[in-house]
């Protein structure tokens, strides 16, 4: 029994609850319209599977800002970190295919994660919108490191150690495949937090590191303490023009876009083609904007647009590369025990 004070409290409470219920009914009824207006007619949520501040998050915010202007609705970035990006993938794979929930996802890392630890995500069923950004990886070392080609490194004694944040993620994937293709012995030193890797290299705890040559890494390799040995690409990286490409060094199998980190934009399976076209056209229009290209480039990433169909084809290509190398990846991941 509620002890009451004041005048006619029961009536007040009843009235309040009645009004509240009517408001709820009214809103609920209003939201069930006879037909859906043209897409888009409300905010679009752009999920990022990592915490704010990272490369893909920054790119997403730049792009989302411009897409909001283009589409006439807010494209709002939401960070839902978890599972190394898998939570965002799951959110989209189960989402409503109405175009109002999309996500940027790091590929082919998510393919690797799925092959190593299946969760039933079918990347061929996903509705692809396009590619937001692409990051080219490079191999970098401390300035004092005496070797510069894969052959020298493979033959060096003592064997070089590879600095890693962990045995997962795109840097690990690049390290695992590259060491196998280039004949470099696998001696991982894990547990560094991002930029700690360079401290480890300076302390001579490990020698080799692979990662996107961007941000603080870019500053470091353009300074006196570090250098880039090569870029995993076919063309030289304009921000580090003196670094050869791995293709120039004779290993074109790991050149090109093979080991690049792609920020692909996805929508839930079954999203109508008409909606995908609207999103894709808007995305690619934004990515054609010189301001956007410059802003993304300044953060160490590149713009390389794709349509929904070509994105799907690219995903198939990534799938086959990862599949070919999955045994090596698995073996490398088990080796630290």
């Amino acid at each position: 029994m509620i002890v009451m004070h004041g005048i006619r409290p029961f009536r007040f409470a009843r009235t309040l609850m009645f009004v509240f219920a009517m408001v709820l009914v009214g809103v609920f009824t209003a939201s069930c319209g006879d037909s859906e207006p043209e897409f888009p007619n409300r905010d679009i949520e752009w999920f990022v599977g990592f915490n704010a501040g990272g490369g893909f998050d920054v790119a997403s915010r730049i792009i989302a800002d411009k897409m909001s202007e283009d589409l006439g609705v807010n494209v709002v970035v939401r960070n839902i970190p978890g599972g190394g990006g898998r939570r965002a993938v799951q959110e989209i794979s189960r989402g409503e295919p109405d175009g109002y929930s999309i996500s940027i996802v790091n590929m082919p890392n998510q393919i690797t994660a799925e092959l190593l630890d299946p969760e039933g995500v079918d990347f061929n069923a996903i509705s692809w919108i396009g590619r937001a950004v692409i990051q080219t990886y490079g191999m970098y070392v401390a300035e004092s490191y005496p070797h510069s080609t894969p052959q020298e490194i493979a033959a060096s004694s003592p064997e070089p150690r590879f600095c890693l944040t962990g045995l997962s993620g795109h840097s690990f994937l690049v390290a695992a495949i590259a060491t196998k293709e280039l004949g470099i012995p696998w001696n991982p030193v894990t547990g560094y937090q991002g930029s700690d890797i360079r401290a480890g290299q300076l302390r001579k705890e490990c020698e080799l590191a692979s990662g996107p040559i961007a941000g603080d890494t870019l500053t470091a390799v353009n300074g006196p303490d570090f250098k880039v040995l090569w870029m995993f690409a076919d063309e030289r990286f304009d921000q580090v023009p003196d670094a050869p490409t791995i293709s120039e060094l004779g290993y074109s199998d790991v050149g090109g876009a093979t080991l690049a980190n792609n920020g692909l934009v996805m929508a839930p399976p079954g999203t109508p083609d008409s909606v995908l076209k609207i999103l894709s056209d808007s995305l690619n229009k934004v990515l054609d904007n010189p301001e956007v290209i410059e802003a993304i480039h300044a953060r160490g990433m590149a713009v390389s647009t794709l349509t929904p169909d070509t994105t799907g084809a690219a995903v198939k290509g990534m799938f086959s590369i990862v599949n070919e190398n999955i045994d090596v990846v698995r073996e490398r991941a088990a080796s630290s025990n």
Partner: protein, 501 residues
């Protein structure tokens, strides 16, 4: 360098800059006061919000948060026995007993001034040590960090007010909880029982909020009454200023705490929470009156608060000189650099001294502002101790539930916090110190990571743990501390048998 400093000083007094510092300070204090949140969450949430700001103003805002969150965290630590951040844990040992005696205002004054002085000391050291930063950072390798964490774990155990066996057991449980989930070091999932939620392991914020804020809420709400056991509490500005001036009666503790905070803060990955405990335990062990610690002793608050704010200058050292983030705050700060088109790392010291000074002056300005705010508002804040707990409790619950969810937008984190509250209550009831469990949790993963990393560096050889000069010094420190405490325990045992005979 000095020209850039002069320009930055002028810029700092522009209205927009002052507003940015004040905004950062307000956010930092609020997130510090709300248990479990703290500066990392505040900076994470603020980061996207600053997209589009002038970079220097954004840096002032972030510096404002960094400089003030742990000072704000002293408020609930003193008034509610609930540390606002992990770095305020030791402040509860003496702050809360003071509040219970009706001297919450004095305790807040002590905390505010010890924080300010600790920050000023560390910023001064930062400026002086910039040329030596490289040597310091290179001196600490993975094995040294491993031993430093062991020192921290031991300090935590000895700082426990409860039965030491239970303290050690709680610490062990905390370490084991930290092992749940995906380990990037091994690339393997462990102990997750197939749960998607546990893939990322147990998140520290829901655990800490549940253990500290919510279990304490259960305790005081079920007890009823008010926090302050006395009705005539001293809350005037006079008591606050008395507390603020009292810090100068403990110059040795203040200096030691500031040095420990700065040095530990400067070591990347060492864990800022450790400095708090190291300062407290070393102050207690070197004091002529160690029995006063834990009873509402002013020196205890000075030891804790000077260290946890001195780390602000320390952690900037590796970040600004190398672009190597010292802790979670610095990771977010570097994200802010990237977001605002600033290249982090050594380029800052060469081409962007304006950014460097903005951060340094922002931290100092925000800390001094916070000290003034706490001294002015402390009287009102201290009155929280006289408000019946049944009015405070629902606000603490609401803020805790919101804060926990805001970390990664996962509703199950809220359930985890509730489960931790129940577990925390049970553990307290059974005499286990929650603090050692949480610190074990925070440091356990770091300890394993640095241990495995050391073995990988050495190709599997354990000799790496005993071959570096810094490691040897730390091992001697550990052996010495253990030996001393064992001697004290045996002596106490013998003395009690003698007096009982």
């Amino acid at each position: 360098m000095f020209e850039a400093f002069g320009d930055a000083l002028v810029q700092m007094f522009q209205p927009a800059s002052m507003l940015a510092i004040f905004f950062g300070m307000a956010v930092g204090v609020i997130f510090g006061i709300i248990p479990g949140l703290g500066s990392v969450i505040a900076m994470t949430l603020l980061l996207p919000f600053t997209f589009g700001w002038d970079p220097i103003l954004a840096m002032y805002a972030f510096a404002g948060i960094m400089g003030t969150a742990s000072t704000g965290g002293a408020v609930p630590a003193i008034l509610l026995n609930t540390p606002g951040t992990i770095a305020n844990v030791c402040t509860t040992f003496d702050g809360y007993p003071m509040a219970q005696r009706g001297e919450g205002g004095r305790a807040l004054g002590l905390a505010a001034s010890a924080s300010a002085l600790g920050t000023l000391f560390s910023i001064f050291v930062l400026a002086a040590l910039l040329p030596l930063a490289k040597l310091m950072i290179l001196a600490f390798g993975a094995p040294d960090i491993f031993w430093l964490i062991i020192v921290g774990l031991l300090a935590v155990t000895f700082a426990s007010r409860q039965n030491m066996a239970k303290g050690i057991a709680a610490g062990g449980v905390g370490i084991l909880i930290a092992l749940i989930g995906f380990s990037p070091v091994f690339g393997k999932l462990r102990f997750s029982l197939g749960s998607e939620y546990l893939w990322d392991g147990i998140e520290v914020v829901p655990l800490a909020v549940g253990f500290f804020a919510l279990s304490e809420l259960i305790a005081y709400t079920s007890r009823g009454g008010t926090i302050a056991q006395k009705s005539d509490i001293k809350v005037g500005i006079k008591q606050l200023l008395q507390g603020a001036m009292e810090v100068f009666k403990y110059p040795g503790i203040l200096l030691r705490g500031s040095v420990i905070g700065t040095v530990i803060g400067a070591i990347p990955g060492a864990g800022g929470a450790v400095s708090n405990f190291l300062s407290y335990t070393s102050a207690k062990q070197s004091s002529k009156t160690p029995e006063l610690f834990g009873t509402g002793f002013a020196g205890g608050i000075v030891a804790s608060e000077s260290a946890n704010d001195a780390k602000d200058g320390g952690i900037l050292l590796p970040t600004l000189t190398f672009g190597i983030p010292g802790n979670g705050e610095m990771v977010i700060l570097m994200g802010a650099f990237v977001l605002h088109g600033i290249q982090p790392g050594r380029d800052l010291l060469v081409n962007r001294l304006d950014v460097v000074w903005a951060i340094i002056l922002g931290v100092i300005g925000a800390q001094l502002l916070t000290t003034v705010v706490i001294l002015l508002a402390g009287g009102y804040l201290a009155r929280i101790a006289t408000v019946p707990v049944r009015y405070i409790a629902p606000f603490v619950a609401v803020l805790s539930f919101i804060g926990v969810y805001a970390v990664r937008s996962n509703i199950w984190d809220v359930l985890l916090a509730v489960a931790a509250a129940i577990a925390g209550f049970g553990l307290r009831k059974a005499g286990f110190p929650i603090i050692t469990l949480v610190i074990g949790f925070v440091l356990g993963e770091l300890a394993e990571k640095s241990f495995v990393q050391s073995l990988q560096i050495a190709g599997g050889s354990y000799s790496i743990f005993f071959s570096r000069p810094v490691s040897i010094i730390l091992i001697l420190l550990i052996v010495g501390t253990l030996g001393y405490n064992l001697y004290k325990a045996i002596k106490a045992n013998v003395d009690s048998k003698v007096t009982g005979a």
